[in-house]
Amino acid sequence: MIQRLLVATAVVAVAACARPAAEAPAPTISDANIAAIVVTANTIDIQYADLALAKSQHAEVRSFAEMVKKDHQSVNEAAGALVTRLGVTPEMNGVAFDLRDDAETKRLTLRDLEGVAFDSAYAANEITYHTTVLGAIDNALIPSAQNAELKALLVAVRPAVAAHLDHARELAAKVARR
């Protein structure tokens, strides 16, 4: 998943560099694709959070999970309202499918862990996941978005994702000290 997302990011970057400055680069990801990626990415982290809330007894892990779950639910609500208003139907694509499939594999791994091992793996995964999503927002999704409102939504989402990443790093450090 991450490899594919990174490849998509690289394709957009290369396409932008290869064209004359005056010519706008053709989007390699459509707005319908972006909508599907946004909803998929949010849903994945909600599912990770649900797993943490079901398995962890660590107060800070649970607090983090509740926060990210609530935030990603809010983003999905906003994205759903926007695509409905714009008449865009989210279109699953290779990146979204890979995100979903890789997350399923990761959840199975996390599900078999307990206690500190789970908390550490969950926190580490949140760092990796939010790093990837933040990179995708900056390098692929925002540059590719054609609709101004969709682009604005991605820009508005970015601070929450960045805050999650910072918080996940702090959480990992706290779990490691336990």
Binding site: M67, K70, D71, V75, A163
Partner: protein, 113 residues
């Protein structure tokens, strides 16, 4: 209309405009807006007077709240929603968003002039 009456009417008009402007200014100065944006309270610290109204407006996509136990609790605010509270006493109030632990703000409430 005599010249004296014209002058009195003009003075009355100026006074009325001045009073209106002053009233409008007081209403504006008695209201402080705090934006919830980028997972922060902006401004993070605000100085207000007793009797002033503080209005928190969520400018983010994610939900926030503004809570000081015993004083105010906005409840969860979606993007675009707001919450108003009137300061009744002086003092330093440290409040926070209960959803985002690191999102904190301060109100310094001074006596009304």
């Amino acid at each position: 209309m005599s010249r004296a009456r014209v002058v009195i009417a003009a003075l009355a008009l100026v006074a009325a405009v001045a009073c209106g402007a002053a009233a409008a200014s007081m209403r504006t100065s008695g209201r402080t807006e705090i934006a919830m944006r980028g997972n922060s309270f902006r401004p993070r610290r605000a100085e207000i007077l007793v009797g002033d109204t503080v209005v928190w407006v969520n400018r983010d996509i994610v939900r926030h709240d503004a809570v000081k136990p015993g004083l105010f609790d906005s409840g969860e605010l979606r993007g675009g929603e707001s919450f108003a509270w009137v300061a009744a006493d002086t003092g330093l109030i440290e409040y926070r968003c209960t959803i985002h632990q690191r999102m904190r703000g301060e109100l310094l409430v001074r006596p009304a002039k």
